[in-house]
């Protein structure tokens, strides 16, 4: 008997769905879940005879084809050669603004996070930016971020071809609507209700009575995740791979 899909596996599978159609996705070295989702998509595409998916893992020697220094990622994004990227955030607000800097004043923030990294740039230039943060709480998902590392929306007259595409947490999946600059609840993960999500979210969002449950992988896909994808993941993220269920 197959073990049930875990929450992490659901997230990995959901990420792979959010990446449908991309040719090149870049993920951070310390982001095993996005990498796992991208690797799953790559395996599924191969199986289905669809296009190849290139996964660039920043900071990895082996899974990183860049040869012009760490500026190449940004140049590549500007050239339109990167289709999807992931951003986390100490705070994410209802307008899609992301805060990677800190809370409680600036510059002398009470809580200081590392900093904005490339977010203020990549959010504009990578078509599909997926906001991914496992913690789903009013502390993280706030009405208004304390500091805008990267804005969700942009005034006219500023070049922007990228931006927030979806927000995925351990509890729910939202899409971002660029016309209204608001999130829309797309589905709620098994075990949660729309009411739970409303209570856990610090901003208002559309479709807040959503009754769709986030779909999990079918048995075949789940088996792939527990065999081939897990093996591929282990090359770069051995500890993380070990924490995932293995095929019997």
């Amino acid at each position: 008997m197959t073990r049930e899909c875990t929450n992490r596996e659901l997230l990995i599978y959901t990420i792979s769905r959010l990446l449908t159609g991309v040719r090149h996705v870049a993920v951070g070295m310390s982001s095993p879940m996005p990498a796992a989702g991208a690797m799953l998509l790559r395996v599924l595409n191969k199986k289905r005879g669809l296009g190849d998916v290139q996964v660039s893992i920043l900071g990895s020697v082996k899974h990183n084809a860049f040869t012009s220094g760490s500026e190449e990622l940004f140049d590549c994004a500007a050239q339109g050669r990167i289709d999807a990227f992931f951003l986390g955030g100490g705070q994410i607000d209802g307008k899609g603004n992301v805060n990677l800097v800190g809370t409680g004043g600036y510059p002398n923030s009470e809580v200081r996070w590392p900093g904005s990294y490339g977010s203020a740039y990549l959010y504009f230039l990578v078509p599909r930016v997926i906001l991914f943060r496992e913690e789903h709480s009013p502390r993280v998902l706030v009405d208004q971020v304390d500091f805008i590392s990267a804005p969700g929306a942009t005034e006219d007259g500023v070049y922007r071809r990228g931006g927030p595409h979806a927000l995925l947490t351990s509890a729910a999946l939202f899409t971002f609507q660029r016309d209204t600059n608001r999130f829309r609840l797309e589905s709620v993960h098994p075990g949660r209700s729309a009411a739970d999500i409303r209570g856990m979210t610090g901003f208002s969002f559309d479709n807040d009575h959503c009754e769709v449950e986030t779909p999990g992988p079918d048995a075949e896909t789940l088996a792939l995740m527990r065999s081939q994808v897990r093996t591929e993941l282990a090359e770069t993220y051995p500890q993380f791979a070990a924490s995932l269920p293995e095929a019997a």
């Binding site: 310390s30 020697v61 860049f66 040869t67 012009s68 220094g69 760490s70 500026e71 190449e72 940004f74 500007a78 990677l100 800097v101 800190g102 600036y106 510059p107 002398n108 923030s109 009470e110 809580v111 200081r112 996070w113 590392p114 900093g115 904005s116 990294y117 490339g118 977010s119 203020a120 740039y121 990549l122 959010y123 504009f124 230039l125 500091f147 805008i148 590392s149 990267a150 804005p151 929306a153 942009t154 005034e155 007259g157 500023v158 070049y159 922007r160």
Partner: protein
């Protein structure tokens, strides 16, 4: 002409008050030299991280050596937040120039190309921009309807890096860490510690050449084995995560930081 000196002599060549360019942990960082600078009592540095900082920057902050910090992030990676950095921010001990990685590269590229500024897309609408008086929103000269940010050139007085290898002429092998090449091109002087010195010219092998920083950019070289410990050196040796954890635990308090730095000295 590249000088060949001891690490101690190199530390003496880096005065207080300079704009100092540093590589990210693990990509050319040199914590051993940072310890020498701290022991010497260096102060008032304007540190430029290309484009992020880690343990070596946190140590400089803990020692009170940094007055201005220009970076896109400071973090101990998997270990977590940089403790001296967080404390200095809370206490207002450093002037912070928060950046975003490609803007640092754009500023360094401007210095590399000898232009006063470089345009860059994105950034508009972020509080990063709001807090950078040295970045401006301008009109694209080819499209009056487009607003675009320009960042001023960043020219460090001195860049200090660690690399696998130099030859006797002063050529330094960086490999594919081309952001370090950019940093060195942009800087007035570059000081390099290396794991080893090659007796033959690194430019003799055409296959290596694209990864070589030519001697004309290299003011001084010091042989200093393992000087990137514990942060690691790209394609040479790994991060010592346990030691970075030790550091992070110790540096949670100013006293713990001082004790860590003293014991590192006595261990050396």
């Amino acid at each position: 002409m590249t000088e060949f000196v001891s690490p101690e002599a190199m530390a003496e060549m880096i005065p207080s008050g300079v704009k100092l360019g540093l590589a990210p942990d693990g990509s050319g960082s040199c914590p051993a030299m940072i310890r020498l600078l701290i022991e010497r009592g260096i102060r008032d540095l304007h540190v430029v991280c290309a484009p992020i900082g880690g343990m070596q920057v946190d140590m400089l902050i803990g020692a009170g050596a940094i007055s201005v910090l220009e970076t896109s992030a400071v973090s101990l990676g998997e270990t977590g937040g940089a403790p001296c950095f967080g404390r200095a921010i809370r206490n207002g001990k450093i002037r912070m120039l928060d950046a975003t990685c490609p803007a640092v590269f754009a500023g360094l590229s401007a210095a590399e190309k000898g232009v006063p500024y470089m345009p860059i897309r994105g950034i508009i609408g972020s509080d990063v921009l709001e807090n950078r008086l040295d970045w401006k929103v301008t009109t694209n000269p080819f499209d009056e309807n487009e607003k675009i940010v320009v960042v001023a050139a960043i020219q460090p007085d001195i860049t200090l890096i660690h690399a696998p290898e130099a030859d006797r002429l002063g050529n330094v092998r960086l490999g594919r860490r081309r952001e370090i090449m950019l940093l060195a091109h942009a800087s007035k002087k570059t000081f390099v510690t290396v794991e080893r010195i090659s007796e033959t010219s690194l430019l003799d092998d055409e296959k290596l050449a694209a990864g070589i920083l030519p001697a004309m950019y290299v003011s001084a070289v010091a042989e200093y084995k393992n000087a990137a410990w514990p942060t690691g050196l790209y394609a040479e040796y790994e991060l010592d995560a346990r030691e970075v954890d030790n550091y992070a635990r110790a540096a949670r308090t100013p006293e713990g930081f001082q004790a860590y730095m003293s014991s590192a000295r006595s261990a050396a």
